[in-house]
């Protein structure tokens, strides 16, 4: 009897545990799934996205299996004539006409190209001539460089089972799965093209493409610089102010502190308009009086300086500084140590944890800032990644796979920072509970 009871209790306990874990894991899945879906979509081709394939082929081994080794292909050149393809057989119904880029050429070729006034990357016109759906391997196509027709072969789409359509129908997909062609020698009569397959490029192709299409290199660099500048400012100014509030006596201390805290209440949309007006006036002032053009608009100043006074950080640091025992200061005072030296040599080394919280939190906020940068930047010079991404999401609205690659590029630096510092992060949030 008692045994039955205890097994029932144990069963009940187990069921409760199972339920708890079920709910917790469900919550985690909901929190994480959009990110996973984003990454999956960012690895798809346009076709896979449109056909609602849940799993991108790039994540299977199919595209990378049995890739032929690098080979040098000697192609014959025919002088081009109007309307013909140099005697080459041209299909009546070409499956594709399009351009592919040739990214690198060897030094002698580059020289020759330079003489003709061209430089890599070369846009090469290609025309898929004959396609036999039964044959595995490569189909012949022809491309032209300058005034010459080059016979070349292209990769067959049917790289493995389950491929839905001949992939090179879609020019971008051809670019993704096709070989990289490097012209290594262009003898007047024999053009030597080196054909290599690039599995990495096949995998992260969308990332590479959106990186260049939206100039993410510049946006990322801007965001890194802006984050660095504003975090440095926040750390210096907040440490000084927090120290004054925590450890120094001066008239009006409480009133000033209350005024500081009151600014936390202000919504950004209220201060947005007057701040923009202020920045415009500062910009005009600098131009007229100091003869510096664009000192504020389209510059790091407007993007970082208003955020350098962070009430949140002052509050967080003050809480910590106030806990440092007075005896330490009294001892330091006897050694003839002033406030600044005490702050630098005693307080700061003791405050690594809250400082880390301040750095991490402000870093992330600065990286994520959107509305203000959107308003005060009108060109690329200092435009941060969030604004760049919002522009890109409009431009690439139809190419969702590229858009998701862009979103991932924006998120990844934050994720890396977060995974290394998540303890400071959640604790910083939980102890002060600010910034909703």
């Amino acid at each position: 009897m008692r045994k039955a009871d205890s097994t029932r209790i144990r069963l009940r306990f187990r069921l409760t545990r199972a339920f708890i874990y079920f709910v917790l894991i469900l919550g985690a899945v909901i929190a994480v799934f959009p990110f996973l879906w984003m990454v999956l979509t960012s690895l798809k081709t346009y076709g896979e996205y449109a056909l609602r394939d849940p799993w991108p082929k790039a994540l299977t081994l199919l595209p990378y299996r049995n890739l032929p080794p690098t080979e040098d292909v000697v192609v014959d050149l025919y002088p081009i004539e109007e309307g013909t393809w140099g005697g080459a057989p041209r299909s009546a119904q070409p499956l594709m006409e399009g351009r592919i880029p040739i990214e690198q050429v060897s030094a002698p070729v580059a020289e020759q190209l330079a003489r003709r006034g061209e430089a890599p990357p070369l846009e090469v016109f290609i025309l898929v001539a004959d396609v036999d759906s039964e044959v595995e391997g490569y189909d012949t196509f022809y491309f032209t460089v300058g005034s010459r027709v080059i016979q070349q072969e292209t990769v067959r789409a049917r790289l493995g089972e389950g491929w839905k359509a001949p992939y090179y129908i879609n020019a971008p997909d051809m670019e993704r799965w096709g070989p990289q062609l490097i012209v290594v020698d262009n003898d007047p009569n024999h053009f030597v093209v080196r054909k290599t397959w690039r599995p990495t490029v096949m995998l992260i192709f969308n990332y590479i493409k959106s990186w260049y299409e939206a100039d993410f290199a510049r946006y990322t660099w801007n965001s890194v610089r802006l984050t660095f500048i504003s975090v440095t400012g926040v750390v210096v100014f907040s440490t000084l102010a927090a120290y004054a509030f925590a450890r120094m006596q001066f008239p009006g201390r409480n009133a000033i502190f209350t005024a500081f805290l009151a600014t936390l209440m202000l919504p950004e949309v209220v201060t947005l308009i007057p701040n923009y007006a202020i920045v415009i006036q500062l910009d005009r002032f600098f131009e007229r009086v100091l003869h510096i053009e664009n000192a504020w608009l389209n510059n790091w100043t407007a993007l970082t300086i208003p955020f350098m006074a962070s009430t949140f950080s002052i509050f967080l640091l003050r809480q910590f500084f106030a806990q440092i025992p007075d005896e330490l200061y009294d001892a330091a005072l006897i050694d003839g140590c002033g406030h600044l030296r005490f702050l630098l040599q005693v307080v700061l080394p003791l405050s690594k944890a809250p400082l880390m919280s301040v750095i991490v939190l402000n870093g992330i906020w600065s990286w994520n800032a959107f509305l203000w940068p959107l308003i005060v930047t009108s060109d690329e010079t200092w435009r941060p990644i969030t604004v760049g991404l919002s522009k890109f999401t409009m431009e690439a609205a139809a190419e969702v796979h590229l858009m998701m690659a862009g979103a991932a590029i924006t998120i990844i630096p934050i994720l890396i920072l977060y995974f290394f510092t998540q303890k400071q992060f959640t604790e910083g949030i939980a102890t002060t509970g600010l910034k909703g």
């Binding site: 001066f250 209440m265 308009i273 202020i278 919002s390």
Partner: protein, 413 residues
């Protein structure tokens, strides 16, 4: 400094006093020096702008400053001043009623009767003026487009708060309580829940817009058709301006009366707004969970032990210990959540970018988006500032109410 004690000081003491005083002055000066960078910046970009915004709101201001027009920008948004004044007086009287009600508990005898009478009068008059003022504004709004747009944007903000804050809190409270059990991998769960909050809004909102709420390929609709909820006429989410009540009625095959369909209140928030709400809940549930966890950690464990000895069940523990003792956290999160929905611009901006900011058909134009649109698209800085100022007033009023409620109802451990 006059010698107040009347006892003559020795020269050394006086010197020491002077030294201490000089040290104090020095310290104060040094403190101001330490404070100055942060204080100057906060003043320039935090406090000064509030006054400046008010100044702008009193002018016709379209990029360039125009004529002084007094409160015209406000009446443009709220309707004619008598009605608005009635509304404000009503609110003021109700606030007064609150203070009288507070005073009653400290008084006794004859005073109490008188105070009760005053309270009743204040409540009735205040309530009446409030309702009449609001009614007048609504009537006026039917005629005046600008007033209607603004009041609708406030209504949508209310929808937005009501559609997000309760859900955030319930989910977060549930998750925090479960996490608070003896759980393996607690910090991993906490880290994962927090992920949506720290990642850039621009990126996550783009993700939700493009691959979850996308009507044809999106995950939400794929899931719906997979579950067999609907195969055709799948919801258009962010593209759908129709109210959810109307949509639900259509889906269930109930024909709703015309006055429900045409009423902006009864037809409910648009499906686009619901999509924005779902995104918001996804972002903030994790943040609220972390704060709740801190709140739960602060409850002394002895209370639970004592209650268990008294034979309290799991449900009773939750009802009588956990809920009252985390109520400060709940109130804090409610306030932050509501203020958050009043401020929210970024994710609505990104999510409705393709249908036009605040779209479709303006149904996601909350008060904050309205301000932003007036500012950026209409270039009406004066109107935008006036709207921002009204928003600030609402936020301050909410904070005040929240604080009063918190004082009455929250049990501080």
């Amino acid at each position: 400094m006059p010698n107040t004690t009347g006892v003559a000081r020795s020269p050394q003491e006086r010197a020491r006093g002077r030294g201490a005083r000089r040290r104090r002055i020095r310290e104060a000066l040094e403190a101001y020096l330490f404070l100055s960078p942060a204080a100057i910046l906060l003043f320039a970009f935090g406090i000064l702008p509030v006054g400046y915004a008010f100044y702008i709101s009193l002018h016709r201001w379209r990029i360039q400053k125009g004529d002084f027009i007094g409160l015209a920008n406000y009446t443009r948004l709220l309707g004619p001043s008598p009605k608005v004044a009635m509304l404000l007086v009503g609110i003021g009287l109700l606030i007064g009623a609150y203070y009288v009600w507070r005073a009653i508990s400290f008084q006794s005898g004859g005073w109490q009767v008188g105070l009760r009478a005053i309270l009743a009068a204040l409540l009735i008059i205040g309530g009446l003026t409030l309702v009449l003022g609001a009614d007048g504004m609504v009537r006026y709004a039917a005629e005046e487009r600008t007033v209607r747009q603004y009041l609708l944007s406030v209504l949508r903000t209310v929808f937005y708060s009501a559609g997000t804050v309760p859900f955030q809190l319930i989910f977060a409270f549930l998750l925090a309580n479960l996490l608070f059990q003896q759980i393996r991998g607690r910090s991993t769960f906490r880290m994962l829940y927090f992920l949506p909050y720290i990642t850039p809004t621009v990126a996550t909102a783009a993700v939700w817009r493009a691959i979850i709420f996308e009507p044809r390929q999106g995950l939400a609709n794929t899931l719906l058709s997979f579950l067999g909820v609907a195969q055709e006429n799948l919801p258009r989410w962010i593209l759908e301006p129709q109210g959810v009540v109307v949509l639900l009625g259509e889906w269930l095959g109930i024909s709703l009366p015309e006055w429900v369909v045409s009423s902006p209140v009864l037809s409910g928030p648009s499906l686009a707004m619901v999509a924005v709400c779902i995104y918001n809940i996804w972002v903030f549930t994790g943040y609220n969970t972390v704060i709740y966890l801190a709140g739960l950690g602060a409850i002394p464990y002895e209370l639970y032990e004592a209650a268990e000895i008294d034979g309290a069940g799991r449900w009773q523990l939750l009802r009588h210990i956990t809920l009252p003792l985390v109520s400060p956290t709940t109130y804090f999160l409610t306030l932050m959540g509501i203020i958050g929905t009043f401020k929210a611009v970024n994710h609505i901006y990104i999510m409705t970018q393709i249908v036009g900011l605040g779209g479709p058909q303006d149904t996601t134009t909350t008060a904050a988006i309205y301000i932003f649109k007036q500012f950026r698209e209409g270039n009406r800085w004066g109107v935008a500032s006036a709207a921002a100022f009204i928003l600030l007033g609402i936020i301050l009023l909410l904070t005040w109410v929240q604080n009063r409620v918190a004082e009455e109802r929250v049990h501080y451990a």
